[in-house]
Structures are given as C-alpha cells and as structure tokens.
C-alpha cells in the first residue's frame, strides 16, 4: 500500500526588477565620485541619506536642488556580532554597526572592516569605505547603505559614550 500523501511541495519563484529612482541614481552617481550626498527637506530641513526624493514628514518632494554633501565619517553608536553559524554568514565572525554620521541625525548600517568582535565598542570613530564603482551596477538601492562597502577606523580617538550626541529628532525618521 502506498504511503498516504500528507504534504506537497509548493515551489514559487518570482523575479522582480525595480527601477532605481531618480534620487537613488543621483546618490549612486555621487558615490561613484567618492562623495556621500543627502537631500535636505526644504520645509523642515531634516536631512535624508540615501535621499528618498521626498520628506515623508512634510510630504514634499526633494530634488537635486536640495542636495547637500555630507561627511563620510561618523561614530559607532550600536553594533552586533554576526557569527558563522548565523544564516548567510561567511567563515569568520564580523561586526556590523550603526554609524551616526557627523553633523546629521542619520545612522547608516554596515560592516566594520577593521574592527574585530573583541574590539567592538560604542564610540569608535569610523569613515566610509566606498565600493568599487564597478560593483555598484544593480545595487540594492533602497536598502540603506548601498554603495558604501563598509566602515574602517578613521584613527581618531574614541568618543566617550556619555558624550555621544543624542538625535534631536528623537529618532522620528
């Protein structure tokens, strides 16, 4: 007698191709030149990077006219250590961190290239490592830090935790 059928495989594969938005194309073009840009909302002056092409708080669009160049340096404000037994990880443990950019209330998330898990702590000064322009084609543009391949130590002294700036916006963005 054959075995009763209790389950069946349901294989679904869907491919999507999403266009890079105008703001993302501007962002990636700047990254190719080794520059980090953002858009400043003409209404509330909040700064967005990568730029969205609009301010979701004020519901106004932003364009090249609202573009500003940002420092590609910042301070580690949070981190997590990804170990090889986690999903989609490589051979060694790596540190991923939230880097608060200098001068604005935005963090970018990325891998720390020269900070070992033992060394990781809040307050490390970092600078962006820009991706090889040839690796930018088809980058996952809307996913935060596309175009920045990681963050390396800037060599400046740490910022003590108690001196870390607090977000003026209260983390609204």
């Amino acid at each position: 007698m054959s075995e009763p059928v209790t389950t069946m495989e349901s294989l679904v594969s869907l491919d999507y191709e999403r266009p890079l938005t105008l703001a993302t194309r501007q962002y990636l073009a700047a990254i190719r030149d080794g520059r980090l840009i953002g858009h400043r909302c003409p209404s509330c002056e909040r700064i967005y990077t990568p730029p969205k092409g609009y301010c979701p708080i004020c519901t106004v669009t932003t364009s090249e006219a609202d573009e500003i160049e940002l420092a590609s340096t910042g301070t580690l404000v949070a981190f997590s250590i990804l170990n090889p037994d986690s999903l989609h990880q490589g051979e060694a443990s790596v540190v991923r961190g939230n880097v608060k950019l200098d001068g604005i209330d935005v963090t970018l998330t990325g891998e720390l290239t020269d900070v070992t898990p033992d060394e990781a702590h809040v307050g490390i000064r970092l600078r962006a490592v820009f991706a090889d322009p040839s690796a930018l084609e088809g980058a996952l543009a809307e996913w935060g830090g596309a175009g920045i391949s990681g963050w390396e130590r800037s060599g400046e002294p740490d910022v003590p935790a108690e001196e870390l700036e607090r977000f003026e916006t209260g983390g609204v963005i």
Partner: protein, 350 residues
C-alpha cells in the same frame, strides 16, 4: 445610516512603468492633491486606509513604505487592505458609518511593472490544484471568454466593440495609457493572443496610484460643491476554485446590484472590466441598459493600475457627478481571477 460622500479624487499619471519614483513618489502628489481639493488639512483627517499588494512590489511590507507618501507623523489612525483601494474605501465608509470617524483618506497604489505580472497573479490561485499548473490570469480569462462565446449569443465582434469604444472614450482621458480610433472590425484583423482573446481584449500593464477623501454629513458640502453621496456600497465573494463557478455569469455582482438598485436610472457606470468579455458579463449582472454610459474614462482597458483600478472607478464616477452634473452613477471593482470578488458602489449628486 449616515450620509457619507466622496468629496475629492485624484489619480497619478498611469504609465507602463514608473521609473523616477518608488511608490511614495506616486502616492504623495495625489494625496496632496485631494487635500487641496477638499480644503482639509492632514490633521483634520480622522482615518486613513490604503489598498495595495506586496506581491506587486516584490517587497514584504511594501505597504508600510507607502505610508511615506502620506505623512504619518505625528501618528495617524491607519489601516490597510491587501486588496484594491475600492475595498479600502469600503472600510473607510464603515468607519464613518459607525461613527469612529467623520473624515477619511483612502488611497490605492501598485507597480504592476516590477515583476512578471502574469506569474505574480498566478499566486492568487489555490496552492493545491490550480497554482501548480502555472495557469495565468490571461489564460483563466480566456477560459471564461470561451465559455461565454460558446454558451451565449455574444461574439468576438461584441468583445472587439467593447475594446474599440473604450479606446475611443480614452482619447478624452489624459490619464489613459491605451487609446485610439480603430474600429471593432479593424481590431478583429489582429491574430489571437491567448485564444479566444486578442491583445485588445486584455488590459495594459500599468503603474499608478489614486486617492479619495470621504466626509460624513453636512461637512461634505464645505469640502466639495457637488459631493458624490454614497447611497450604497456592497461587496460579495464567489468560490475560489474556478471549477465550482459558472464563469459566464457574475452572481456576486448581480446580488450587489439587486441590493443597490443598479438597474434603476444609472447614468454612468465605471466597471472594472479588465477583459472585454467581462464587461458583457457585468452589464448583464447589473441590469445596465443602453442608456447607461459605460466606462467613459476608457476603463481598465485604457489603464489598469492594479490595486488602484477599482478606486479609480469610484473616482471617475464621482467626477461625472462633480464635473458633469450627473445625478446617479455606479462604480464596480473586482479582485481575483475571472471576477471572483466584486464590489459595487452607487453614488448620487444632490
């Protein structure tokens, strides 16, 4: 029942592929537009509800990203349906009926161009019997059209006439994607695409967004000179499995129409007939006569931004009241394969 009216409507450019903006960039201008039309500030809107499908965007929680387009800070009272915006409008209408809100913003949006739409819509089918066969929405529509042609007096010429009329009507619609003056006979010279459907029997693939504002009571007259009062709105669903349905009729639409009096004095009907033969089925189900102007906008055959198509039908019907002085109009929305689920809304002007 409270008197609830549509007081504003806007739609984005309806295009084959939106390249410069993601969904929030489509939504923001139409939402700002309906606020301006109605004279209402964002802070005066009691309830917000949207309709969209993450499968179209290819991103989980894409509908949350859509909130970027409407301004959700300070916090708002918000809801979402994974359906056409017409069903979002139904939810908003209920919130106004039960008195939880006096004003509502409704929007629907979708980027059908992001994936292979025919494959994406196959995932609407049941996972055991139909989806594994890979049958797509054009093929299921073709089955429905074949059943209609073989079991009724309708012909392929009737279907081509629906397409020719829609394209002609669309010439006056700046938002329309497919328009033209070809006659039905000329269209019939084209080869079959998915037999018995030709290209003209099928809707275009469209990216777009639309928004509507609802207001309850006398405030509606402050927001709009000629509001479109919702005199009835109803939606019904039929079995999921196509084999259990008679595809040549639409009993769910018929039942909605009977409740709302769809055969009585409807001057304009905007129908979500996404395939030509579905207009023939829907006209019969709703009891619409020759004196009803069907899809003066060109309908979904002119532009079919999924998840906004049905809401646009409501908006276009409202515009016939607001702009053209019509008194009694009807809007229809559909969801699923072969008219599985249907919503009918009757609007009246003062």
């Amino acid at each position: 029942m409270r008197d609830v009216a549509v007081v504003a409507f806007a739609q984005s450019p309806l295009v084959r592929r939106q390249t410069d903006f993601a969904e929030p960039g489509m939504i923001m201008p139409v939402v700002n537009d309906v606020y301006e039309q109605s004279g209402l500030q964002r802070s005066e809107i009691d309830f917000v509800v949207s309709g969209s499908a993450d499968y179209l965007a290819g991103q989980s929680f894409a509908f949350i990203q859509g909130l970027d387009g409407i301004g959700a800070w300070p916090p708002i009272s918000e809801s979402h349906v994974e359906m056409d915006g017409a069903w979002a409008l139904y939810e908003a209408w209920m919130m106004l009926q039960i008195g939880h809100a006096d004003t509502a913003l409704v929007y629907g949006f979708g980027t059908s161009s992001s994936g292979n739409l025919r494959e994406v819509l196959t995932t609407q089918l049941d996972p055991y019997y139909l989806a594994p066969t890979g049958i797509d929405c054009v093929a299921t529509a073709a089955l429905q059209a074949r059943a209609l042609l073989d079991r009724t007096d309708h012909t392929e010429l009737d279907m081509a006439e629906v397409a020719a009329r829609s394209r002609r009507s669309a010439m006056d619609n700046p938002h329309a994607q497919v328009k033209g003056e070809a006659t039905a006979t000329e269209l019939l010279d084209e080869p079959y695409w998915v037999d018995p459907l030709r290209r003209h029997d099928c809707p275009p693939i469209t990216d777009g967004a639309a928004a509507v504002v609802l207001v309850a009571g006398d405030r509606a007259k402050d927001a709009c000179e000629r509001p479109g009062w919702i005199r009835g709105i109803e939606h019904r669903v039929e079995p999921h499995y196509l084999g259990t349905r008679d595809l040549t009729v639409s009993p769910s639409t018929e039942a909605c129409g009977e409740t709302l009096g769809s055969n009585d004095g409807i001057e304009v009907a905007e129908l979500s007939a996404t395939f030509t033969h579905q207009e023939l089925i829907l006209r019969a189900a709703l009891g619409l006569g020759d004196d009803t102007d069907v899809n003066p906008s060109g309908g979904p055959l002119a532009a079919n931004p999924l998840m906004a198509t049905g809401l646009i039908r409501v908006g276009e019907a409202f515009d016939r009241i607001r702009n053209d002085g019509k008194r009694r109009v009807l809007a229809h929305a559909t969801s699923g394969h072969c008219l599985q689920q249907n919503l009918v809304c009757v609007l009246e002007g003062d």
